[in-house]
């Protein structure tokens, strides 16, 4: 964290970051507004990929590539499988909008307001030093295994719980023994 420079003369980093942010917001809106469920998953690829680009600009290289591997790779595949399981045939589906739309909009706006308030309040004058080498796997390893061991172990329990849950739900064809 160092002294904040003026907002009036954006650097190349800031411009790239802003452009990527526009892509993230735009594709995020497309995810929820498209009429084709599969297209929503594919727009999510673009959205999460652009977010990885944001991480790269902030020199969080390791997190960026984890984002590509886990979210763009694994989670979207999971999502596509979820879609293929629940809907057939898949095509344009006009019934995607539920009647909860106003409530959802209110919840979304409230969440966004809370997040923006907290982030702005917490990091108002903080400015990240963008010299490279701050987000390598080594730095992440130091942080995880020195300060964040408990969340790391809790993550394994979370993965286990989700795996057991997925098996229990999906093993209807396996008849209990």
């Amino acid at each position: 964290m160092s002294e904040a420079p003026s907002y009036l003369s954006p650097t190349g980093h800031e411009i790239v970051f802003l452009l990527l942010g526009v892509v993230v917001v735009g594709t995020g809106l497309l995810v929820v507004t498209t009429r084709q469920v599969v297209h929503a998953a594919l727009w999510l690829v673009v959205c999460l990929g652009a977010l990885a680009g944001c991480y790269l600009v902030l020199t969080a290289e390791f997190v960026a590539w984890v984002q590509v591997l886990i979210y763009v790779g694994a989670v979207v595949v999971l999502l596509l499988f979820g879609i293929m399981l629940t809907r057939a045939p898949i095509g344009r589906s006009p019934d995607l909008d539920s009647r909860n739309r106003p409530v959802a909009a209110v919840v979304a706006l409230a969440t966004a307001a809370v997040l923006v308030t907290v982030v702005v309040d917490g990091f108002r004058h903080a400015y990240v030093d963008l010299s490279p080498g701050k987000g390598t796997a080594e730095e992440v390893g130091v942080a995880v295994f020195r300060y964040w061991v408990l969340p790391f172990e809790a993550l394994s329990v979370l993965l286990l719980a989700a795996l057991v849950g997925a098996i229990v739900i999906s093993r209807t064809d396996i008849r209990g023994r």
Binding site: H13, V16, L56, V57, T59, F62, V66, L69, I70, G73, A74, V75, V77, L78, F81, G82, M84, L85, R87, A88, P89, I90, G91, L130, P132, T136, A137, E138, V140, G141, V142, V144, F145, V149, F152, E153, L155, S156, V157, L159, L160, A162, L163, V164, A166, I167, I169, S170, R171, T172, D173, I174
Partner: protein, 119 residues
Amino acid sequence: MSSYAPVIALFAIGVAVFAGALLVNRLLRPTHSTPDKLTTYECGVDPVGEGWAQSQVRYYVFTYLYVVFAVDAVFLFPWATVFARPGYGMTTLVEMFVFLGVIALGIVYAWRKRVLTWT
């Protein structure tokens, strides 16, 4: 960020080659389409049913196992860079094996429930 210039250049070249090949293809090829030509190629026989079929729920577990292994592998990288450092050592080693052990429990459960067998 400037160290990523070659990556961006490579990505741009890849997109250019891919788009260029398709564009040249479109410009050069004759297009005399008939309904027969426009049907989906399905090993030479007439296609049956729709392009989308509902998949079995059991594939979801395989996909989720992939997610588990990906998350697992992702944490091995930062771990591998620090566990040999002074001040980490055995504790960090044990921490990682506790993590792997809990995940292994899930694999054992899947195996015991015969999710991994291909009937």
